[in-house]
Subunit: 340 residues, 2 copies
């Protein structure tokens, strides 16, 4: 690679000290009282030669990298990639760069990612945590690493966090199904104790209870979604109780469900109603379109970045942790039409 010019070279060329160059480059010229002429001269020259400071050296010295690490379940998922897009834009405006990692819901992998990025001295973390990550999170907390959890959190750990009202959103979605005439509503979800799945299940159980309906829950392990989801959903549909609606706890479970319904030649919504938690770009392509609970991604992203920057800027040092809950809403399509 080409030899880069350093602040020393510039100082030598201009016959001034590196202190002066550094001060000017960091906009502290006024503050310190350097002459405008000198300021001009340095700025003009550095621009002319296209000088770029060595960020490694800068970071080593200042202890700041201006990098934020965003850890999501899967960056290819529409919900997470949408959050990533917004967060990146907001962070960029504030002078930060975002670096991504996909946890794939694997605690060991996630733990490694965290330690990897910590070793790389990122200035803060935004994490959609997996299960069994309490130790790592507590660790970050105890080292005062800026950290915001989103999508899910640990009830037992006091953190800044941003989540959707999983309980209420699910409650309302199911209530809508009931109003449409569906009764035997099954809930297909992950075998998971993560808070968001716990709350979605809670909302479902509560609304069923309130309406005197019998709940029916099918849980599927995250790791075995690819192999087992279809089989398990088929089982669910072949029990004595005739399920007339399916609520899927995540969008990828919905995709699996649709595959099964197609296989079994079950018509939506004539034979069965369908709702997905979280939208997906293809849901509008199906016949009929699939109704989904949608999270207010832009708002969540704003809150996330705001909370993290408060920590990075030490404005959060004295305040209590903030736990923000934003409202979800329903994107109604035809998969939840009036039950005939």
């Amino acid at each position: 690679m080409k030899k880069k010019v350093s602040i020393k070279d510039i100082a030598a060329h201009l016959n001034i000290s590196i202190t002066t160059v550094s001060l000017i480059l960091n906009g502290k010229s006024k503050e310190v009282g350097l002459s405008d002429i000198l300021n001009e001269k340095v700025l003009k020259y550095t621009k002319e030669i296209g000088y770029k400071p060595n960020l490694l050296a800068k970071s080593l010295r200042t202890g700041k990298t201006k990098i934020i690490c965003l850890l999501v379940e899967n960056i290819a998922d529409p919900f997470f990639s949408s959050i990533a897009g917004f967060v990146e834009e907001l962070a960029t405006q504030r002078g930060y760069k975002i670096i991504y990692g996909s946890t794939k819901n694997d605690p060991a992998k996630t733990s490694e990612l965290i330690s990897l990025f910590k070793d790389r001295h990122v200035d803060g973390f935004i994490i959609a945590p997996t299960e069994e990550l309490e130790a790592d999170i507590n660790n970050l907390l105890s080292e005062h690493v800026p950290l915001v959890l989103f999508d899910r959190y640990y009830p037992a750990i006091d953190t800044d966090q941003v989540v959707v009202d999983n309980f209420d959103s699910t409650y309302k979605a199911i209530q809508m199904l009931i109003a449409q005439g569906y009764k035997n509503i099954a809930f297909v979800t992950l075998e998971s104790d993560q808070s968001q799945m716990h709350d979605r299940l809670g909302g479902y159980l509560k609304v069923m209870e309130v309406h005197g309906l019998t709940p029916c829950v099918q849980k599927i392990a995250y790791e075995s979604v690819e192999q087992d989801a279809c089989t398990l959903i088929k089982q669910l549909l072949s029990t004595d109780i005739p399920v007339d609606a399916l609520f899927f706890g995540t969008n990828y479970l919905t995709l699996k469900g649709l595959e099964v319904l197609k296989d079994l030649d079950i018509a939506v919504p004539r034979d069965i109603g369908v709702i997905s938690f979280d939208d997906h770009e293809v849901f509008k392509l199906f016949t009929p379109g699939i109704t989904a609970v949608v999270q207010p991604v832009a708002l969540m992203s704003e809150k996330i970045v705001e909370l993290l920057l408060e920590q990075i800027d030490h404005k959060a040092d004295v305040r209590q942790k903030k736990k923000i809950v934003v409202p979800g809403f329903l994107n109604v399509r035809n998969s939840t039409g009036q039950k005939k």
Copy 2:
């Protein structure tokens, strides 16, 4: 954050010099001839206190970051996220970390990403280039930054590159359509001069010519796919020539096409045959499943990492640039059934 322990602290604690500690930590103990006992002692102690070297300092000193930058069109796209997964695994095995960026086919954004990561001193780049990026690529080349292009390349620039045989894959896919009895095969593609789109179009035009069929091409600008794709595809289907098969140049164009076919109530493959270049997880969910040209992602990833590491390890300094072309294959589903 907690005060980290440095190599100096370790040396002080053990009453030896930092040179010795550094040498041992870098496995040069034998090479230099340090006693096994000392070696043991240092290793044991550093492990005990969980010492982690400051990578910023290390990189500043060595000029290496052990980070590779992977720039793709869209990390949420199945093809690119699949490449990313394989490349990350292979790179990790070799001690490298992968950092991602999505170009969204925007040259200005891509140019910024490149300069951003260059400023961060990544050890090399793997890029699926956008149009109008020649200057940046030449720039990297002239600075001898390790670089591999994939998915597309610039015929006029001599680089290490890995691409699928776009021309032949398309040729064979269309040939299959013709064998199935389709005649009025339209080609829906991007308004783009990128090599991969150019070659796919070339394959289509050639096979149509060979079979004495009249080509029909619809081009759509990448930026306006969301707004215009559906309208343009509808236009294509409402001309005098009755199109009986559609070949889509990318998987997201296929999704748009399927939306249109659904709107117009056109049955696949009864009324029209469909093939997509590049697969998509939902293509098997549609009725009928959508036939796709698939790229050998694992193989491509291996080649990409191999070429890049040859450059990083200076094994490529003397050799010629390698231009690798891998074979695509057809994943046949029901959207290309025998024409009735």
